[in-house]
Amino acid sequence: VSLRQKDNPLIKELRNVPFQLVSDVTPDFIMGKTTCALFLSLRYHNLHPEYIHARIREVGRLYALRVLLVQVDVRHAQSVISDLAKLCVMHDYTLIVAGSIREAARYLELYKSFENKSAELLQGEKPADYLAQLVTTLTTFKTINKTDAVTLLSTFSSLARIAKASKNELAACPGLGDKKVQHLSAILDRPFLK
């Protein structure tokens, strides 16, 4: 953390990662070898609109990922945020907007702790246990909710048997109305290829 941020209430909220106040860094925060951030409170920006331009110039293109962390603490912020978005496109910054100082601090913490993380977390997750997985699959049908999924599984016990069941059998389950049954079997029968 740059020494110039030492009075920022944000650093009181940095609880999950250790930090160090240093005087000789250009950006406000350095979260990793290639990641840095500039912090901007919109209230300050409205008073001193030229500040952020100067800071962006100072930082230059030293880091691969440069984050502009904006704390929204004024009303009707959209026009300012749009302007900042344009600025970010021009200077290749990533704009992150936070509603509160805590949220802003959380973003910084996450940037630090994700420094070397793989993208695995972004590539979709699979439910853990078998029953949950079955229920997840069933609730992918738009009209089926969790209760219905449990009803179906407890009545027919497997997906294959649900698929074999007739509409009338499905409709005999409590909670499954005509609409749900129609939809369920329509999707089961709909050809994959259009």
Binding site: A85, L95, S113, L122, V150, T155, S157, L159, K194
Partner: protein, 880 residues
Amino acid sequence: RGMGLERVLLSVLALYCDPRLLVLVINVNQTEQELLMEDLTGIMPQHPPMSMTNEQTSLERETLYLRGGVVFVTSRILVVDMLTNRLPMDKVAGLVVANAHLVTPTTSEAFILRLYRHANRVGFIKAVTDNPYAFVSGFNTVERVLRCLWVTKLHIWPRFQRDVIKDLQVHENRLAVFEVPLTKNMARVQQALVRLMSSSLTQLKKLRPSLDMTHLTAESGLFQNFSTILRRQLDGVWHTIGKQTRQLIKDLSTLRDLAVFLDQYDAVTFYHYLQTLRASEYAFTHTSYWVLLDATDDLFEFAKCRVFPRDADAAPGSETEKTDATGRARRAASGIDPAVDRIERNPKWSAYQEQIDIWQRAAEVSPPLWRPNQPCCRTLVLVRDERTARQLRAVMHRGQEYVLNMQLRRYRAWRVRTSRLRPKAMWVHLRQADLLYTSWFGFPSLRVRVFSANGVLKRNSTQASGVSPQADDDSQGELEDEIRADYALPPDEDLAANFGEFGETGFHVIIHAYHREGGVQGSRLARLLLDLQPNNVLIYDLNIVVVRELELHAHVASHPIEVALLTLDTSFQEQQYLSSLRQEKEAFTYVISAKRSMAFPDGRLGLRQKDERQLALRPEDQNVSTRQAGGRRATAGTRPKVIVDMREFRSSLPSILHEFGIDVEPVTLLVGDYVLSPEICVERKSLPDLIGSLKSGRLYNQALQMSQHYPKPILLVEIDESKPYSLVAANESLGSDLEFKTTLARLVLLTLHFPKLRIFWCNSPHSTAQLFYEMKRRGAEPDGEQAAAIGVDMEDGHLSDSRYASEPEAVLRSMPGVTPANVYRIMSGIGSLRELATASQDRIRDLCGGPTLGDQLYRFLQNEAVETSATSSAKGASRN
């Protein structure tokens, strides 16, 4: 509602069935369209109406437009055709808009109408709706809708209009109303539900003090629109709502369902449903608020009493004893459980049978002779849905006892299975719950199960009850066969088509479910009534549309109709009916007074001039600042252009972009949603979308593709107006620990992996349009063909391919063993999900491209969920 709007629409459209005119019909739903097309073809066989779907190619559509006549077209296609000039605007004689209440400034219908008015000022626009309720909520809704529709006249025809009353009162038909009293336990269950609902609402109010609760009372909780009110209020902040609130809202709809089911289901099915709720509650540890309330105990207790009455409750001298002597032998022979006797009967069933008997006798004494030589008496019974219809049919053919017995057996078999379904981790909970139940439950044979310390399930042999679990399984198979046979009574889906087989003489009862595909289809009902010409109509479930439709039919019918209404006194259903009457009246009163005080948009010419001025002014306004900035390339004469993906026309942004003065070019894009310039590509995400696609991994792939093909990929995050720029709820604290599976964390990770990705945060489509406009000042205009070509040659190019049906694909993707690598192989290799679920192991191995994944998928499809808890504990030993 139920004033025969379809007929009005039909006669209007029939006038335009002429090849010299091109009239477009928009905003009709599937069923309406089918019926209207059918009728129009009947009226005008020489010039049948046409429909446009995405199955026709653009060239085919072009020729169809040129042919003229009435054309039904979906809004999305029409927008695209209008923008690409496939539709000759000046040839369109007019537009007819159905369901006018749904048109708001941001819908594509409003976009279509605006486009149409700009290009063609003489054509007509007509709009109809039969939903006055929609205009009550919100500020100035009537005026706003009229403005979007570009119409200047408003006609209102309520049921209480003098001409309407005069017209409908010509025929006096006999109407009998039967109010069946609720049973004691039903009333108690109902009370418990009301209590639960109001305490849930109080809790909701506590959690979200900002909610406007004037429309939210336990009473209004009984109506369909209740959840809509809530959703509308919370829509903008939905993502910030805490788990607790969300759960409460879900609970409220569950409670509402229960209220409906109470009237609709028999005692056993209702109890069964309650138990299912409880089971799923435990299986997933979502502790709902209402489950912990006292009233819930009442609810379960009384619901149970209806099925298994305590001795004190079983009133002596009731039908139980009467039937005992005579019935026992017969029952023993037919295999009906003695417990059935004590189950509470659905009070409506008896009333129903009585009424039918009365009519039958009447018909035998004096057969109605409304058609010469055809002494036929038809009785139509109108019920809510297919399930009720099926059950009534079964009651009619086999008697109440039989039906209840069937339900009871189903229920018991289900209990056995459910007790096996519960996941291991839940045993502790369940044990307590089970202890609770055992005191209620009169069936020791179902609960002879002990839990050892490590949670492994063991079975005791059950000498005491004499029913072994194996026997349960056997009877299960039997039972299923029986159910199959039992419910195989013919459904009367196609009754209207082939009711001839009911014979020309005698007494016929036809049970028809009027509630279909998400609503009451007045037009279908009208058709059925006309075809059947029933002498008697019994309304088993009350509904305002049904009553209105009957009124209309009575007016046109050739013979008097006897109508009977069946209601449960003081039941939810009755209250619902009464307040829907009241609501209808209030809605109309409101609309009429709104009409009196509202400022009508002046003539279309005036509106047009104003609009043109706006469009002309826009670039000028911008020029003042842009000239100074010096970056502007487009002159005021040419409008800037944005390429928009076809699928994006469901959202309001394209319409607003166009209104703002940016031309939109519809193209099927494989990468991104909007292309601003050859360099800039935008992926638009609403917040729920963002959260969902961050979780599912979709956004990762999209970001990957965008970064590969465009130097400046942009992620546009749409935040709702007047809400804080925050991805977490204000009242839901962040928590002191770092959690990695949150949206916040995923977004951070996304920016870390795609440092080139810019993020736009916009709180309204208007500011998005402004931003787009300013972004476009630098950089060349995008090229449609080029943008469409991007991503085609990619290996993973069919990621956003529309060749595959989306919902089955989503289901398939959620299954284990299905990976992004083999999902297309599977979809091309096999027809449908049903086919997949029943395919052989070898076939699935082949489809998945290997035995590892294949077996994973096969096991997932075939394994019995009920046995998992047992097998998973013995994993490794038995499975290899």
